[in-house]
Symmetry: D2
Subunit: 338 residues, 4 copies
């Protein structure tokens, strides 16, 4: 961390800042330029709150040299993390496809879709029981009943299940019933929820918030890890920009950037990114090509009558075609789905 002070600042004010830093246990380096005077803090400064320094009216600005995250930082953990979900590996060379409907609607619906996505090669079943909807008048999910139907579908197909947790009050239920707990984009900075799931041992699928920087996504993962849970899968699902043709702008550059800075696996959700079914295939292929560790894809047997997000769901046959194309691409990379 570097503290920037105007060169003309009185020496006593500079000394006061230096003294304070030393009290906080920092070793100090100094550095005098023509217009600015720099004080560098050596060592681990992640416990020093930069707000403390910014508030000092003699400080021009604070410059961060080191990333604010530690446990998720590849610098201190060079090897890729691999997450194990009922024997299926996620990360480092494995390409995992999670697929299923936006929301669970009936036993018949979820079981039949589960069978379809399994036969096409998906290794994890997705399906929403609790749905975050922009309007209070939209379908909010089947809630606990939906969870029961997911368990049935798992029993029938053997596919582990991933579904979204929106409130700490159902956490115990999710720990019992679910294989991967999803934290949705809107809750990426619901710090209370992050701490709660951080205290479990469950695998967590953490989706990037619509306007979260990559650094903030990694800091949200740091919240979970700092409570002891290291089983985190990150998920890029599109960010909010000025562009209007697509619901969000899928930020595929985020994949190699995250892989450079963190050891956690990262997958892509091409369905929510564009919000349009005909964008799913090209974006899914691009996600594989850019180096993602997997995908989360919405599949529905009757999109036109889906209770939510039908416009971004693939029909099972289109999903099969996509899986075939992905398999061919993975062959070149010496990887396999699942």
């Amino acid at each position: 961390m570097l503290i920037v002070i105007k060169s003309e600042e009185k020496q006593e004010n500079v000394n006061k800042i230096k003294r304070k830093m030393k009290e906080l246990g920092c070793e100090i380096c100094e550095f005098k330029g023509q217009t600015y005077y720099l004080i560098g803090l050596v060592g681990d400064t992640s416990n020093i709150d930069p707000d403390l320094l910014n508030a000092n009216e003699n400080v021009e600005k604070i410059i961060h040299v080191q990333e604010p995250y530690k446990k998720v930082n590849r610098l201190f953990h060079p090897e890729d993390t691999i997450i194990d979900i009922c024997g299926r590996k996620i990360g480092q060379g494995h390409f995992t496809v999670m697929a299923g409907p936006c929301s669970v609607e009936s036993e018949e619906q979820i079981v039949s879709i589960a069978k379809e996505v399994k036969s096409a090669g998906a290794s994890i079943l997705r399906g929403g029981a609790f749905k975050p909807r922009t309007s209070p008048y939209s379908f909010q999910g089947m809630e606990l009943d939906g969870l029961e139907l997911l368990k049935l579908a798992k029993k029938e197909t053997g596919l582990p299940i991933v579904t979204e947790l929106m409130s700490p009050k159902y956490l115990d239920k999710f720990i019992d019933d679910v294989d991967i707990i999803q934290i949705g984009a809107r809750n990426m900075q619901n710090f209370d929820l992050l701490k709660e799931v951080g205290m479990t041992k469950k695998a967590i699928l953490l989706k990037r918030g619509m306007s979260a920087t990559i650094q903030e996504l990694l800091m949200a993962a740091e919240y979970i890890m700092s409570e002891g849970n290291e089983n985190i899968i990150l998920c890029e699902r599109g960010i909010r920009t000025f562009e209007k043709y697509t619901r969000n702008t899928l930020d595929l550059s985020a994949i190699p950037v995250i892989k450079k800075h963190s050891h956690l696996p990262v997958i892509v959700d091409p369905s929510h990114a564009g919000g349009l079914w005909w964008l799913v295939e090209p974006l899914a292929k691009a996600a594989l090509a850019v180096g993602a560790d997997g995908l989360m894809v919405e599949v529905h047997n009757d999109p036109a009558n889906a209770k939510c997000d039908g416009q971004q769901s693939l029909k099972p046959e289109k999903f099969k075609t996509l899986m075939n194309k992905l398999n061919k691409m993975l062959e070149i990379e010496d990887k396999k789905i699942g």
Copy 2:
């Protein structure tokens, strides 16, 4: 709501869509252009999920004519809503200033600042007990102890208190102890929390999410109102853009836009918007000029040693100067603080 279909679409597909709309209870108008065929739905369509239609592959797009919110919509409630907080009115000509430290740090701190802001003219005391912080290693607030200190400060000064609720688990405590429950920007779409506070009768200060559109802010308020609670104060606090000099970009145009579309009062938080103390005064004055119903301002007696956000806090004497300037501006508008 308008359904746009390509003119060359087969008549039977068009008929299928028309039949479905009629089943949902919609009256229909038709409209044939050269390249597109339009089906208009007459009446209240807020219960029709546009996803259902978007998923139909014969539908080119859906166009919304009417806003998706009802209870917060000025169209159906033309008069301004006025919120009463222990006898102080918020909205319609009253200009309310909520002031206090970012976080409660000690009895001495909160009581002395409460006295200072009261004497300068603030009518409500703000202070964080639970703090949403980007880093798990930053100060997270005094939590329940902080709430106790706020009550002490209220007892000493008579100022009603506003503070942020981050988790439903403390809701009962907040109902007992707090006058206005703040829902922070990061939780604006924490729908579970919105529903919970919607079932109370407490006044809610709902902050706009960092990347929330004005429509989404109004839909979040609709969540609260649809559960029965109509005591909502909206708050603009800056949105996320590409600009880097300021922490967020304060969207002051949002104030007249919200006032046109909704009857709810709306205030501005100039402290979080810019993230820099020297921006607070000009932005506060601009907020008044643009028509806001009040302000939420961070004030700290010792910003350089504040436990959080010191860099955006005003010292009490600067706050007094600001209040004097605001008073002069309000005189021209025939309004008063408080």
Copy 3:
């Protein structure tokens, strides 16, 4: 185009608007809902300025059903446009790689890089002679001398050349010397320049502005086409968002969206998008996978001493590795480079 008027509006005001529309030659449909009254204009409304209607204080808003572009619109020109550059085809199944240094620096540099990229499989040579730089103190390009060196490199290798035109004053020179005229992101809405190149027959590479919507990009192409030049290649090169790790956010969803709405070929510039050399390979592969018609890649033999943008340039050997990987991917798609 739909004109939305409040239902309670006086009939005489509605009639005035209808009369005006008829004077402008529009056929009219009407449509009365509970809260709004809609007037639909049938036929080609692209000549009607919506500002005219928006300014009417009885008009609530204007809704556009049809896209504002005509000549670039796939609706009126369903087949892909193929551009011919000295016998090389761009568009519809051909995958074209344009490669070379950010800026021309010397004869030796440009000729040797031209040979390298040709032998690796590139079919067009890029190289900046005139450079748009954020700072007036940065290297501005070799200007006309750079153009001469590009011609030399073309003579040596046979590669057609693409380079950026920044001012109409050099247009004649560019028509003589250059095979593709590039209009840079910062000039995408320099309408004077667009009109000037629209009056030539040269192929134009039109880069998307940093904050241009896809619709605005297509409208910029419409400017060129409306003057008579139909030889346009579009280029996605990253848009400005809040994310800070990357210089821009590459919007790969734009490729399938553009292909749906327009018949023009579209390529991707992975070098400018991320601004970092280690992002070029993954983004280039993703661009191919998402369906782009080609790439524009910066290659430099000595990036650490390049006069500009060295940090985003690939060394020739890394470029060769990339081309090999792209070739393998193209095989699956039954396509070829060049």
Copy 4:
């Protein structure tokens, strides 16, 4: 400027970088932390291209301590710049209102509006002769004829005129006929045009680009100043964000930020920012309150028949009301219009 290198980097690579910096004439400071090694460059580094260093694969990143602009920087020019336009002062306590129609349409129109805005207190007449329009099919302005009409209006009223220059080919004409040359938002980084007007002595009104950072706006002004022209007025007119109710998001925080970092005067255009006439008054008042040096406001006698942007134009009587309100606000600040 600080060069950040990983601590584990080989000493010889570090030495190579240090040697290169010394060759470029830089004095060097060093600084060794646990994970990073820092090399600081002392003195004026604005001539060192950071790309050169970023391209070095041993460099982790470059950190800028100093702003990249010099001539526009308040650090080196602490007093406010005042621009003189035919005896009217802009900057430092003067509040200047430029008003008039979006585009010049006829002699009668421009002369009558000029008289109206003059009598209401405006001191400069605006009016577009050349219009940058998103669509090639929209009205493009009366061009040179419009310029003649502006001159007539000036002759009738004595008001100096400001109008937009879109192409260097009319520069000489503008130098003769116009008092302030406007560079529009879309041309803010048309560097050729900036250099051209930089070589004149005319006052330049430089509008912020729709997606330009404040730093880029100041760098664009630096382009003009580096050619010798110091008569620059900056203009904030809204930036592009995700919000859809308003055309752009007016960034009023930019005003105090610009005033802190630069000595140039800065005005606000509330008409283009929101794109809606009913937003002009509140935004104009907010602009004054936040500290702007003036306004640019669109006024039209018949907005519903204006040839462009009628929806954002004020009628003369509404403009008068606005001017009265602004005058009252200025009294409190001990300032005057004009």
